[in-house]
């Protein structure tokens, strides 16, 4: 009997330690009553019943989707923006592990975690949108549509999700104290990173390639054979700017977890990322005009949607690019952060333009999301943030685990 009870007790200790941060369940729950959590609880109080309605009453009850607009907010924002803005993991992973930019190592783990959760919640968002989400594994197991770009997207998102999980495994094993497993996980990190870069190159561009099949529907200023390149380039920008944004956020919220030298270092890293973002934005800006020139659509610029195109390309690509340049020259990390948020909004605008606003531009009927669609999107983002916080509060993401001091020569 004693042999039986001892491990049980240690499991309880472990649970308290790992799950409740060393507090008793009562203390832990009391500590959760914060303004942020109350807002989050209110969002969930609306979002969960609507989730129930979505899966019991169907898409008609919860969306404004029509036969002409088969894709709405959930594809445009939850999936397209979700994937683009989760590119930070692959962008920073390749910078640190492949290009040897070791100084960015401190922010790789939060970036990989953002990427992992980003993709995970993309799949959750997709499950809301799919007519029969329980058939999600079909393209992998049951029926293969090899001529489809969507087939590529499906496979790659699944593989990349696994890849990012492998990349994040060291943090999980450090948290659980599984040393042997951690050693193995660290060894495969470099392989997972290279594989992840390949998968990301392909599926980020594949999301753009999806729209290659819609030449008659997507406005000619947005429809170009370069769509795959546009999506890849803007995803890299989205990844870098989200890393700036997300690290700013983590440094405020989780500041007690971060050592002092990290804080000093942090501004320098932000400036470095800002410099890279400026260069990438300018390249993307040039590419966009090559797209217009290639299709010879200069005349369309002088139409209402043409003005909207200029708003996107000048207002949300060129101007943030200039702000980045200016901020980096002034060595102002604060302005770099501002430009990063600005750019993230620009990427969201681009994805919404391609999938909703400039889509079916020649049809008289327009799509506007139902309120329940917004609620689901907000709910998914909220749950994503809560999950991020739950993990960061427990696992060594923003801080180094004391058992494994700076052994970052693995790359």
């Amino acid at each position: 009997m004693t042999v039986m009870t001892r491990p049980q007790a240690s499991i309880r200790d472990q649970l308290t330690d790992k799950l409740f941060l060393g507090m008793t369940p009562g203390e832990y729950i009391k500590k959760q009553i914060t303004p942020f959590n109350i807002v989050a609880a209110l969002i969930l109080a609306v979002g969960i019943p609507i989730t129930f309605v979505r899966f019991t009453q169907g898409l008609a009850a919860t969306t404004n989707l029509t036969d002409n607009y088969p894709w709405g907010l959930w594809i445009g924002v939850d999936v397209l923006c979700g994937v683009a803005l989760a590119a930070g993991g692959f962008t920073l992973g390749s910078a640190v592990y492949l290009f040897g930019m070791k100084e960015y190592h401190a922010i790789v783990r939060p970036a990989v975690l953002t990427g992992l959760l980003g993709y995970f919640f993309v799949v959750i968002g997709l499950s809301f949108d799919l007519g029969r989400p329980w058939r999600l594994p079909y393209p992998m197991l049951v029926s293969y549509g090899t001529t489809s770009v969507m087939f590529l997207v499906g496979w790659h998102v699944a593989l990349y999700l696994s890849c990012q999980f492998v990349e994040f495994c060291p943090a999980i094993f450090e948290w659980l104290g599984w040393k042997t497993l951690r050693k193995w996980a660290v060894r495969v990190t470099i392989g997972a990173t290279i594989f992840g870069v390949i998968l990301s190159t392909l599926h980020q561009s594949a999301l753009g390639a999806l729209f290659l099949l819609t030449p008659g529907k997507l406005h000619p200023l947005w429809y170009t054979p370069f769509l795959p390149i546009f999506f890849l380039a803007s995803a890299i920008i989205g990844g870098m700017t989200m890393v700036i944004f997300e690290s700013m956020f983590s440094h405020r919220v989780f500041s007690r977890q971060i050592g002092h030298h990290e804080h000093e270092n942090f501004d320098r890293l932000t400036l470095g990322l800002g410099k890279a973002a400026a260069a990438a934005l300018f390249a993307y800006f040039t590419l966009k005009w090559i797209g217009v020139a290639h299709g010879q659509h200069w005349d369309l610029l002088n139409t209402p949607l043409g003005y909207w195109f200029l708003v996107e390309v000048i207002g949300f690509v060129l101007i943030p690019c200039f702000i980045f340049v200016w901020a980096v020259r002034r060595e102002s990390a604060a302005w770099v952060r501002f430009a990063a948020i600005y750019t993230v909004i620009g990427i969201i605008l681009n994805r919404v333009n391609v999938s909703i606003i400039a889509f079916n531009w020649n049809l008289p009927d327009r799509y506007f999301p139902k309120w329940t669609e917004f609620v689901v999107t907000i709910t998914i983002i909220t749950v994503g943030i809560l999950t991020f916080r739950w993990i960061v509060n427990r696992m060594p993401v923003l801080w180094e685990h004391p058992d494994y001091p700076s052994e970052y020569e693995r790359g």
Binding site: T63, R132, T147, I198
Partner: protein
């Protein structure tokens, strides 16, 4: 129909076996002009009187509820409709540019493309272009991503959005079972009182259409819509006026839609094979640079000591 059902099924079987055995031939991208004896329908818009009995027949054959507004009620032509989950075909009326003449009626349904966008879009191969010409959908594998609907240049497939557990993509099937198994005509063709619809082999239909245009060149526009559009369709139209006046897209081009993504998809194996090599190279470079930097530190310090 110039071919008996037995003939047709036999040939379809041989073609099917050839398709299975010869998949490597297909991968070599040999020119495939399409199933030789595929069927289609020629829709002569100069003959259609807008009675909408084809709609009624279609809904009956497919087990859909009757068309929403009674057939006699001409107010339905005040607006342009599209196909939806309960109506796989609709007839629209367009004002005749010659104002004295009545509306020009155009029946809309799946065009049954030679190389369908929906089929190339589907990630679970739910769509297939059959040897009989019909583009068919298999709800058993569909996951409901609706990329087919986004891809279709003709705005044809519809979705059962109101079904929570078994939503399907639905559209005209060219009455596949009726034409292949039962030896009948498609429901709409059978019921048409003015023979505006002609069912037959696509190659024959093109000949018939050309003959009509030649004999009545003042009555017809010299174009068969669907002969070349997006690589050709099984459903083809004749019109008295330019097609963009009666609700057709004339800017779709003649490139089959699968071609639009072929370039991208063929770059995938390149990336899959070249990227690992490229990035391993980059990794080796950066590692070597680091090693050199470490070694470089030592002699530099020694020199400092000397001076």
């Amino acid at each position: 129909m110039s071919m008996t059902r037995r003939d047709f099924l036999g040939k379809a079987g041989i073609a099917g076996a050839a398709a299975l055995a010869g998949s490597s031939v297909a991968q070599a991208q040999e020119y495939f002009p399409g199933w030789p004896d595929r069927y289609g329908v020629l829709n002569d818009c100069t003959l259609c009187i807008g009675c909408r009995r084809c709609e009624e027949a279609c809904n009956r054959v497919n087990g859909n509820p009757p068309p929403p507004i009674p057939l006699e009620d001409k107010s339905i032509f005040n607006r342009i409709r599209r196909t939806d989950a309960r109506n796989f075909t609709v007839v629209n009326g367009f004002p005749n540019p010659d104002h004295d003449k009545p509306l020009i009626y155009v029946k809309k349904q799946c065009m049954h493309c030679n190389e369908p966008a929906c089929a190339s879009a589907c990630l679970v191969s739910a769509f297939s272009k059959t040897a009989a010409g019909a583009v068919l959908y298999n709800s058993k594998v569909c996951i409901g991503c609706r990329y087919c609907m986004a891809a279709c240049p003709f705005y044809v497939p519809s979705y059962e959005y109101d079904s929570p557990y078994t939503p399907r993509v639905v559209k005209c099937t060219l009455c596949y079972d009726r034409i292949t198994r039962d030896g009948k005509l498609p429901g709409c063709v059978e019921v048409c009182p003015v023979e505006a619809l002609t069912f037959g082999k696509r190659s024959d239909l093109i000949r018939i259409a050309r003959e009509r245009i030649m004999k009545n060149s003042d009555k017809y526009l010299d174009q068969i819509y669907g002969e070349h559009e997006v690589g050709g369709t099984s459903w083809m139209y004749l019109s008295p006026v330019p097609f963009d006046k009666i609700g057709f897209r004339t800017d779709l081009g003649v490139t089959p839609y699968p071609e639009l993504t072929r370039g991208f998809l063929s770059s995938v194996p390149l990336v899959l094979t070249l990227w690992p090599v490229l990035f391993t190279g980059v990794y080796m470079f950066s590692k070597r640079r680091e090693e050199i930097a470490k070694e470089g530190d030592k002699p530099a310090k020694r020199q400092e000591n000397k001076s």
